[in-house]
Symmetry: C2
Amino acid sequence: MPNAHVQTNSDQRIDRYPSRVATVSEVIERQDPVLYRHWSKGAPLSRSDCEYYQSNGFVFLEEFFESDEVAASQVETERLAQDITIVGRDETITEPGSRTVRSIFDIHDLSPVFSTFAKGARMADIARFLLDDDVYLHQSRLNYKPGFRGKEFYWHSDFETWHVEDGMPRMRAVSMSITLSENNEFNGPLILIPASHYSYLTCVGRTPEDHYKQSLKKQDYGIPDDDSLANLVSRGGLVAPKGGPGSLIIFDCNTMHGSNGNISPFPRRNAFFVYNALSNRLAPPYAGTKPRPDFIAHRDPSPFPSND
Amino acid sequence: MPNAHVQTNSDQRIDRYPSRVATVSEVIERQDPVLYRHWSKGAPLSRSDCEYYQSNGFVFLEEFFESDEVAASQVETERLAQDITIVGRDETITEPGSRTVRSIFDIHDLSPVFSTFAKGARMADIARFLLDDDVYLHQSRLNYKPGFRGKEFYWHSDFETWHVEDGMPRMRAVSMSITLSENNEFNGPLILIPASHYSYLTCVGRTPEDHYKQSLKKQDYGIPDDDSLANLVSRGGLVAPKGGPGSLIIFDCNTMHGSNGNISPFPRRNAFFVYNALSNRLAPPYAGTKPRPDFIAHRDPSPFPSND
């Protein structure tokens, strides 16, 4: 597909998704498939779920996990937030201006419970199917969004950051968000813009070194502009999947999403696992900055066997 | 009703609702009626709406206003936010850390459109009925909650502030919030705690002088504690009325309410009018501070004739 936006990077690499390089934002059409394999009988998603995912960039599977799996994850989520050896680590991000835990990264390395969960067949099989490749965990995290004072996550395409700051070459990764508490209209549920995965919104502003130290609390670069966001929403609308614990939201790496804050007393706990295709492993960051730490973006992956 | 909490103020007045005076918060049972008059035929609210209001502390009336009234108010709302003679005034509050208009106060004095609206029979008759008295406007405002970056309004009982900072003696006032844009699940709609109007949560922390200059952007005093809020919600739940422009939310002065921020592209515009009973006009502030300006709390009211 011809693409006027393909640029040659400072290190002579081709960059199909240049962002944070120009002074005005623009929209680049997606250069990659959404579904890398056609649906066939025996696929780990139904045909209609696949079609919904292809069109909308996400699919919501309510009550996907068994209640005992969910209960074990809930206990582990609360244990990690109380574990002083965890809370002091770089992997733990606090809310802006507070010591309340906002996110813990790399939970598949920190916790045997989440390692088993993430590498188990149910999610990994879906990822392998959608991406038609072996997969590995690019990133994992718990988002705590505490009651009363949980702050918003502003609109972003994960891929924009992973491409610019981590060097993920193509759109061949999928995110799985698991609800560990009820996600309701009051506690800042994930909001997705349907069909936004077809459009790559470039952002303005150069990426500073060590941007992640601030951006994981509150992002200042890689932020899409108002007009482009309004345009995406006018075409696709907004959807906030809501449901009890143990539901699964599968979304493409370029689907625009965010969430409002949470003044309700109900914490919104979600676990988040990103599966990347092995063929799409990280190159040097396209921003030319030094790579972010491994706990945010794994650079030396071990794929899971597909028949575990 | 015997009340262990009645205190004598520094100026020897009886204070039935002392707040911001102790180092721990407590819950004081409501000392006043909710409905000051029994329902009878010809009342400006249906019997079931009255009963709902009595039990829950609010009632939501969808599509209450005619579309031409709403359209005129919408035009006026946008005009005021663009009017540089308005935007520079004390009556105009900007979002924290930004120059975006958050609220404009005293709109019934600033704007003939809103004066007519507020003093018209439809809302005023309801207020007179609920409070069984002549009424006047204690406060009016437009809340703009802009798209993308509208900030939350944290939980509060309006009465707590009006009592402590303005000297409103008793719970005999009613608020009317009119939706001027769609209020939906994404743009930070008003959230109310049903039945919270029966409990007065005292707050800790002395009120500083000129507190309003900061509190109208982001409140730091008069904030209920987490446990008391969680307790109210565990009993009453949460309700966020949603609907198109021209709907009316009527709520008691002591009903606990708040709203989340707004990352959606949809602004949430609401007009807000507070009717106080003439017999409940303001005394000196119970905090002992100097009164807030007239544009926030009218001290020299002119009641409306009841048959205009």
